[in-house]
Symmetry: C2
Subunit: 402 residues, 2 copies
């Protein structure tokens, strides 16, 4: 029962979200991840809520990785990076385009040390083009990719700004694309008819987001139609929305087929809706969705989220309360499938982790250890992988490289 990526070794020279998320995915499936960190660590170690000065997010974000702390401003540290590259199948980085080349780690120079190295560059706008040197904050990339325009209420519906998704969704999607691209390049390299050749990937956050925009671009091109946000609703199907509950929560309800709408009308004791011309078929229901949403809200507002979930489930109408952190943690399906699990973290105690996606029942991924302290594996890597002796390590320490 080996994990799928056992035997794969990946070097991360990354920070923040995108590159470390890509290596989390590879590490979850069994790859040996060597993460190069500055001596004071990846800034994510300070992000979000802390316990005893340690980030809880880091326990997840850094899991299954070996941390080697290197000061890349010291030439001796760059020599260590070059030595490591020879032992790795792939490298993931998310500095500004050109930064690694500037410090002497160009793709070409790295391939002299490891000719079949796969290199994934992740950046805001890509490695080429007029915007490549711009600062690449996630919120800006999501806005340029077209996502932020759509996370809003319908035009005229609110004076408030379009919302952020609430997590760094653009970075995570770019990380997913990088992990996919690395595996595609490794398959091209390593399969029986493979070419044993290294390649570079160029993953842009803006483009990763744009690629998910479905009909937005072709519909604009052919019809000049600019896709508009639609708040909690779906523009092409009704009723489907989030509705308020008596206990201050929201319930999602999707009764957007004739059969489901009939069940809903009966459940809310409004069979009269079924004989109204205004709600006959999806087209009419979409046209009169606002009225329908008011009627449904009048029913949901008098009941708690728990009552509504039970009523919808027993009527076989797709619906759920909107889950918050507690709901996710306690959900029986997530628990049963190991998607919410407790991990013993030597620094933090018992920590809730997300399980591994995807499930591979015949060779499952695993959480082998939680995010380690900065440089926890520096000596282990230098000794076991590179064969450095104590004298050489002392020299590195004296130079400030480690």
């Amino acid at each position: 029962m080996k994990s799928p990526l056992e035997g794969l070794r990946v070097l991360e020279i990354g920070h923040f979200v995108a590159a470390p998320f890509a290596t989390r995915l590879l590490g979850d499936l069994g790859a040996d991840i060597i993460k190069i960190e500055p001596l004071d660590g990846d800034p994510v170690r300070q992000w979000g809520e802390q316990l005893d000065g340690k980030s809880l997010w880091w326990s997840v974000h850094g899991r299954n990785k070996r941390s080697i702390a290197l000061n890349l401003k010291v030439p001796e540290a760059l020599a260590v990076v070059r030595s490591l590259v020879a032992h790795c199948d792939a490298l993931v980085e998310n500095f500004r385009p050109g930064h690694l080349a500037k410090i002497g780690l160009s793709d070409e120079s790295l391939r002299k040390l490891r000719p079949d190295l796969i290199i994934a560059h992740i950046s805001g706008y890509g490695q080429t083009g007029p915007y490549k040197d711009r600062a690449a904050f996630g919120v800006i990339g999501e806005a340029i990719g077209g996502l932020r325009h759509l996370t809003n209420h319908a035009p005229g519906g609110s004076e408030l700004p379009p919302v952020r998704v609430g997590v760094s969704i653009g970075d995570s999607i770019a990380g997913l694309y990088a992990a996919f691209g690395i595996m595609a390049a490794l398959w091209q390299r390593d399969r029986p008819a493979g070419d044993r050749t290294g390649r570079s990937l160029d993953v842009a956050l803006t483009e990763s987001v744009l690629s998910l925009m479905e009909g937005m671009l072709p519909e604009y091109g052919a019809l000049g139609k600019i896709k508009a946000p639609s708040g909690g609703a779906i523009v092409t199907a009704a009723p489907s929305n989030a509705y308020p509950t008596a206990d201050g929560q929201w319930i999602i309800l999707a009764a957007n087929s004739d059969r489901l709408f009939e069940k809903l009308a009966n459940l809310i004791a409004r069979p009269d809706l079924l004989s109204s011309q205004r709600f006959q078929g999806n087209y009419q229901r979409v046209a009169n969705a606002a009225e329908l949403d008011r009627i449904i809200s009048d029913w949901t507002r008098k009941r708690t989220a728990a009552e509504l979930t039970a009523a919808l489930t027993s009527a076989d109408i797709p619906g759920t309360k909107v889950y918050n952190a507690a709901d996710c943690a306690l959900d029986p399906q997530f628990q049963e499938r190991g998607m919410v699990m407790t991990v013993d973290d030597p620094q933090l105690g018992r920590v809730l982790h997300y399980g591994v996606v995807p499930h591979v029942p015949e060779s499952p991924g695993a959480i082998r250890w939680p995010g380690p302290p900065v440089g926890a594996h520096t000596e282990e890597i230098l000794v076991d992988l590179l064969g450095f002796d104590a004298f050489r390590i002392a020299e590195l320490r004296a130079s400030g490289a480690i």
Copy 2:
């Protein structure tokens, strides 16, 4: 300059968004995708805006795929599926869990025909557990994965419901995980030390979403903290928000470091902010973010999006207008990098497509053709791949299988 996945053949028995998105990613990088469709086609062919009764989204969603139209209720069609499986490396499906087994296409039976077949099952909740048989609408999976709770304004900020992201983000993320998992399983199978063994993957939409939730789960577990939505802002950094413009648009602006905040204060002619204790350092700025956002809004509201973008760019402050479909289509960076490109679609004319992600300069992916008509490749596949003769094809037609 071969695409990375040339030589890979993938069978899709999918519909809607998740499975077809996974095969779009694989096809973009060069895989031969054989999509099995019902005789009346994938329902996405009817979704979104149409031109002459044909979906524009389909031109993108179905690109690089060969379509074979089969009525899986006819035994002769199932025999065709079995024959195809022997020629494929991987299979992707997104029916309800257990459906394929029920019609005689269990993983075990398919592996008798192709022992090293990789099978990716995509579903709402996964192939196991108490919820596995529930209807898996994307909006419901996103709510259970914890995303919908966060796409809202801060508590007390709005009476309106939490918004949908505007595209089927949960399905797309599940499709990305499936594509990544397939390539990981293929590498495990095909690399020099590979085990030449087929495996099954179990990708759940809810879990794919939950896996991106960063600190949400560990912070709840350790501190009981329930991550709250924060509207356009980031809870841990200020100022960073979307601000209104004079021409009814929104501008994103991220001046959430001391250096950037100083530039912004000077740009908006409010150097007095820099000497106020209330805005000294990120901690104070977050505490007084609402006041700061009002001050910044007073400045943005008097200027157009174009004026603001120019001012922020020349002051080197990360910022952008919130792009809509037209902005994405016309963006010079997307154009230069081939991320927005025109494709000749025999059914629709010239159609704007998203380019291929990731870029692989040494062996680029490509849009070989746009989404084809239903069954456009039925005969080609039966003749060239399976070696059927005209008599046998006539029999299939007579049985209603094709």
